[in-house]
Symmetry: C2
Subunit: 188 residues, 2 copies
DNA sequence: GCCGACCGACCGTCCGGACGGCATGTCGCA
DNA sequence: TGCGACATGCCGTCCGGACGGTCGGTCGGC
């Protein structure tokens, strides 16, 4: 494995974090290279040293996001007991289990998704592939296909509604929605 | 009531249609005044005669979209039989009943939502209000709150996944999802 | 003394918006 | 009926600013 100086990786991560922060706080339109550089405590030249173009920055943002998605979802799947409906229940947990680090994860996801899609819809292709992977897992989960996909749609809805700031259920409602979805995730 | 020449209204509508077309075909980043004007067969000056700024254009886009949303949803609600779960079933129909004019409606919604939110997240406030209105109707629909909101989340997910081009169920899967959601929309 | 991280000035381009002008039509008035 | 004053829908040019990206240069470590 090539040895990469730690400082470089730190700066790259700092820049990606800064990009997400800018989008989260000031919207997609404010995502300029100068704004990101300033938020990361780096000059514009320094930023462009790490990401050769804005598109490269957005691509890296999407890649990191998808990796985070995949790791998070797989962790939930691993936490569910074996048997039919496991992946479907992982979707429920992924969308409706509020934990501090998940809140920030959602903000990161939203920022990356929105900014990349705004620049070029083709940039979120990795997200589409990850979604397809989850769909495949869910279709082979031992449930009626309609039930599993209804749960997936609900999980998507919870998350994407948060992306646009449409709404977010409070704690008690989240529990109630979770119960309703779990009733769909039972073996037929 | 003031008499408004018909030609003006036509041109305004043509411009709004053109804006949606540009976004749908070339993405949010391509939504410039010049591109919209060209697609509408109007000069940039002519466009700015009807919409004093880009923000005014986007505001009008969102307003038209919300009106369309509201009319469509209310039509589905009116078509459902009275009794508990009516609004919840209207959500299901709204998201999962494919009809030609609804496909184009979805494209319009997606284009308006994405472009307005990209320019300024505050511009989609009317959408948030409309969503809140539907949530209120659903919360008072005679079902367990968790069930009704789970259905709403699924409807949101189906639509918003389409907005980002993540996926869209085919006809048979749509029927299966519909059946699963309807099982949640039964009186408790 | 080389190399990689980073800087900051600079450039070309694009975009939003202002502005003055030009037709067409309408109304008041003689 | 004819005419002038004005409003309206639309055009096309121009400008200031912002933004993405280039490039020559600096500095510290190996």
């Amino acid at each position: 494995m090539l040895h990469q100086p730690t400082e470089t990786r730190d700066t790259r991560e700092r820049i990606l974090d800064a990009a997400e922060t800018v989008v989260a706080e000031r919207g997609v339109a404010a995502l300029s290279l100068e704004a990101v550089a300033a938020a990361a405590g780096v000059s514009k030249g320094g930023l462009l040293h790490h990401f050769r173009s804005k598109e490269a920055l957005l691509t890296a943002l999407v890649e990191r996001m998808v990796a985070e998605m995949r790791a998070g979802y797989d962790a939930f799947a691993a936490g569910e007991p074996e048997g039919p409906g496991r992946h479907t229940r992982a979707c429920i947990a992924w969308a409706l289990r509020p934990s501090p680090e998940q809140r920030t994860r959602d903000l990161r996801l939203a920022a990356a998704l929105l900014s990349a899609h705004a620049h070029d819809p083709g940039l979120i292709e990795p997200v589409r592939r990850e979604h397809a992977r989850i769909r495949a897992a869910i279709a082979d989960d031992g449930l009626l296909p309609g039930h599993a996909h209804a749960v997936l749609a609900a999980a998507d809805g919870i998350f994407l509604a948060k992306v646009f700031g449409l709404w977010s259920p409070d704690e008690t409602l989240a529990r109630a929605i979770e119960a309703a979805l779990r009733s769909l995730a039972k073996p037929c």
